[in-house]
């Protein structure tokens, strides 16, 4: 009757709260109530998408998306898009919320944040900021194949940052915890110790040295290795980028692309920040082994890319009412067998890189650049002076092949990943890894 091959709708309704402190003072409290919908329609080889918010009429929105799809298909006809079939999901094993943030008065949240902020304000720190966020969101999914499902997720978290200054220079230390969880997140993490650690990092970095740039062996800590696996490996395994010709992993399934010590996994069923019970296409979430024993095993798929390339859908995600896009969830390098001490012994001289201030990747060429929060020089197998302004750059495939040791101390970190203008909660992680040769940038 609509004359399209397929349509679906995501109706999202939620409340988000954020509190921002600056030097112990409340700088901002904001609360948003919203409801909206993202609707897609498929006609031949063309997608039409309409998003609306507020008090909308869902049928009219579906009509609008259908009109877009039909116009596109008439104007620029292209090969018909097929969608891999998917059974109705079963929402099970969802995270338990022990302390509903709705039941905690705003005064208590503010006080809590003030305590964390204060713990970061150690001697030498000139400025602190702290942020609290909470969201309680209900997702409803329905499509023209008769699927109809819903779930609700609560996410909370906090971040604290400290600035230390001296001799006209400034340095920053940061710590954060975000999770699919209620207010109990704060009982399970020693928030005050994290605040203090952020303050200590900032103070220590003031007297840190800058490294000499060049090629050398490095050890990456779990946070930085996690950022590497997310940015450089995870994005390149997203099937939409592969189909765009924008991934170094194109045509490499079954190929040894990494050291045989490396296993890379994406698992949305883990109760970490990137958790979801079903994705933005109503597909049950499941674990994907992206790299197995160093061999590229699988891309991450939507229903469309799974039909085109062969694979399992379940990694389609959308921020709010936006278009669903192939995304990661909880992505990590799996545990190996090495101990950190063994890595130090093996490396001899090199650099130990810790934490991340973000980075960027060109997944098409497989080139990346990350700035570490800090580093240490390793001399004769021992950790020596603290380094700052250290960055790591290079070629994804070379780094993967140069992994010579994988630790047994996997840790996950939460963050938000940007792609196509949409930010999604994700987590990434790794144990410590030793890379025999990498380009370290300094000043």
């Amino acid at each position: 009757m609509l004359d399209v091959d397929f349509y679906d709708a995501r109706v999202v309704e939620g409340t988000t709260t954020s509190i921002f402190l600056d030097n112990g003072k409340v700088e901002d409290i904001s609360v948003d109530f919203s409801r909206g919908a993202g609707v897609r329609a498929l006609c031949g080889g063309s997608w039409g998408l309409t998003s609306v918010d507020g008090n909308f009429d869902l049928d009219k929105t579906i009509d609008s998306a259908a009109k877009l799809a039909k116009t596109m298909n008439n104007k620029t006809p292209k090969e018909k898009i097929n969608l891999k079939s998917s059974p109705e999901p079963v929402v099970k094993n969802t995270p338990n919320v022990k302390k509903n943030p709705r039941d905690i008065p705003i005064e208590e949240k503010v006080q809590f944040l003030k305590d964390i902020d204060e713990s970061a304000n150690i001697e030498g720190v000139s400025n602190t900021t702290a942020i609290y966020t909470e969201s309680i969101v209900k997702y409803e999914y329905t499509n023209s194949e008769g699927l109809d499902c819903e779930h609700e997720l609560t996410r909370t978290g906090f971040a604290v940052s400290a600035v230390a200054s001296g001799n006209g220079e400034y340095q920053v230390g940061r710590e954060s915890r975000f999770d699919v969880s209620g207010f109990e997140l704060f009982d399970e993490n020693d928030a005050l110790a994290l605040g203090e650690s952020a303050g200590q990092t900032a103070v220590d970095l003031l007297s840190a040295k800058k490294p000499k740039g060049g090629n050398m062996p490095v050890i990456l800590n779990p946070e930085l290795a996690g950022v590497f696996v997310h940015e450089a490996v995870g994005h390149a395994s997203e099937a939409d980028l592969v189909l765009e010709g924008n991934s170094v992993f194109e045509n490499r399934i079954g190929e040894q692309i990494a050291s045989s010590l490396v296993d890379v996994i994406d698992d949305p069923t883990l109760h970490k920040y990137g958790y979801y019970p079903f994705d933005a296409e109503g597909v049950q979430s499941s674990k994907t082994e992206i790299i197995k024993d160093g061999v590229l095993n699988s891309y991450l798929h939507s229903r469309e890319t799974a039909a085109k390339l062969g694979g399992t859908p379940g990694n389609s995600r959308a921020q709010g009412y936006s278009e669903p896009v192939v995304r990661m969830s909880n992505t990590y390098i799996d545990n190996g067998e090495s101990k950190f001490e063994e890595m130090l012994e093996e490396i001899g001289d090199g650099i130990y890189l810790i934490g991340s201030r973000g980075g960027q990747v060109n997944p098409g060429e497989g080139i990346f650049q990350f700035n570490a929060e800090k580093g240490y020089l390793i001399e004769n197998g021992e950790i020596s002076s603290l380094l700052r302004d250290v960055s790591l750059s290079g070629n994804t495939l070379e780094i993967l092949k140069n992994v010579t040791m994988v630790g047994n101390d996997l840790e996950m970190n939460s963050g938000r990943c940007g792609k196509k203008g949409q930010l999604m909660p994700v987590s990434d992680g790794s144990p410590h890894i030793l890379v025999s040769n990498a380009l370290v940038g300094g000043a």
């Binding site: 409290i29 705003i106 400034y170 000043a443």
Partner: protein, 436 residues
């Protein structure tokens, strides 16, 4: 919109707000996406929502919604979050100045009337620009046009409603031969006056020229930064140093440096919310303060920080009209308007015997925004030899500090571009560290 805004102001006043403000945004945008040389999908977005600020004892509470039936709840939350906060004796007031500037070329009815078919045609032109060069493919890209209406009302008598339009094209390309090289190009305007074919062609030619890159040794040399690269670095370093909020909080290297020489004597920057057809041009900023022209750097000398009304009150100065909101769901922060770079122009490449030309950088957002230190990966970089671009460079990092960089500027090209609101030519910097 007026009725709803009025109702919210009235509610806030009744519930005890000393001052209040309503910000309503009504946006319609259309986009068409490119994937692998085809127009792949299209999007219509309708956004309409309301954000409410309530001020009690100088403390600001905020809440937002897109549901009219939650308007009263939203006002209540704004009031109660203002009450949770400490009194703020530094709060002065919301804007009340209604002397608006004259602005031009920020609304083009042709963009409002554009049909989806026309949007698809323009997107197709961009792809044709790419495929006019052999062995290059568009990997992704997008066409976008928007039309928005914004209403700002506050309890001090501000009542401003304005409409604006904009259009942009972005294309990412890759060579299809064995030696892979990528490039992108991007243009944006308030009016329907962009050459979409040209956007595609520029990106494709750049990717084509970037193949078979050579390696270079680490050294110090003259570096010319294309407007994309220069803008990217400034936005991630200097922009935060001139934000009055960062200055107050001890997060700016420019604290206490007003009237000091911070750049080479021929270098100036003006932040101008009234620029003819500027991407960030509007009658007012995002809290209703009239837009104006602010000299940031005058012939090397640092002149002014950028302010919204709250931070201006703290320093006992007038707001510079730099309150910016990302959406109706947040309170204003300080941001750049049209940020215009000025340096005497010349044929800068041909005047450079030896050096490096860099089109774009990746990783600029990882710069240390407080110290101004940056270390970025250069893309589509070329060696310069005897005043000409010579060979493409396969992999290159540049690092330095923005405040050193400002003092080492020795040239600018004729190629002024709008990179969003940042308007700049190519800029030459001497003695920059390049790591091959």
């Amino acid at each position: 919109m007026y009725e709803m805004a009025n109702k919210a102001l009235k509610l806030a006043e009744d519930k005890g707000a000393e001052e209040s403000e309503v910000y309503v945004l009504d946006n319609h945008s259309t986009s068409a996406d490119v994937r692998k040389n085809i127009v792949d999908s299209s999007n219509e977005n309708y956004t309409k929502g309301i954000g409410i600020r309530a001020i009690i004892n100088g403390a600001v509470g905020f809440a937002s919604t897109n549901l009219y039936n939650r308007l009263e709840d939203t006002v209540n939350i704004a009031i109660s979050s203002a009450r949770v906060r400490e009194k703020d004796p530094e709060w002065v007031s919301l804007p009340s100045n209604t002397q608006y500037p004259t602005i031009r070329n920020t609304f083009d009815d042709k963009l409002v009337q554009l049909e989806l078919e026309d949007c698809i045609d323009l997107t197709t032109q961009m792809i044709e620009g790419v495929t006019s060069t052999s062995d290059v493919m568009a990997t992704s890209g997008s066409f976008s046009r928007f039309h928005d209406k914004r209403l700002i009302m506050n309890s001090n008598g501000i009542e401003t409603e304005e409409e604006g339009t904009g259009v942009s094209g972005f294309i990412d390309v890759i060579t299809t031969t064995d030696d892979k090289a990528t490039a992108y190009d991007f243009k944006i305007s308030r009016n329907l006056d962009l050459d979409f074919y040209e956007i595609g062609k520029n990106a494709a030619e750049l990717a084509q020229k970037s193949r078979n890159g050579i390696n270079i040794e680490p050294h110090k040399t003259d570096v010319i930064l294309h407007p994309f690269a220069f803008a990217d670095i400034l936005e991630n370093t200097l922009a935060s140093a001139i934000d009055a909020d960062n200055v107050h909080k001890g997060r700016s290297s420019l604290k206490g440096k007003i009237n000091e020489e911070i750049a080479t004597p021929d270098f100036s920057i003006v932040d101008d919310g009234t620029l003819d057809g500027g991407i960030e041009t509007a009658l007012t900023d995002d809290e209703g303060m009239p837009s104006q022209k602010n000299t940031v750097i005058d012939k090397g000398v640092f002149k002014s920080y950028l302010y919204d009304s709250y931070r201006a009150g703290k320093d006992n100065v007038e707001s510079t009209g730099n309150a910016i909101r990302q959406s109706y769901t947040g309170t204003p922060s300080i941001g750049l308007r049209n940020f215009i770079i000025d340096y005497p122009q010349s044929d800068v490449i041909s005047e450079t015997d030896e050096g490096v030309y860099i089109n774009t950088v990746i990783g600029a957002h990882t710069a240390n925004s407080i110290s101004g230190d940056f270390s970025v990966e250069a893309r589509n970089a070329f060696t310069i030899k005897n005043g000409e671009l010579d060979k493409p460079i396969s992999s290159l990092m540049i690092s330095g500090n923005v405040f050193d960089l400002l003092k080492n500027i020795t040239g600018a090209g004729y190629d002024i571009r709008s990179v969003g609101g940042l308007v700049t030519p190519s800029i030459r910097i001497t003695d920059m560290n390049v790591i091959g």
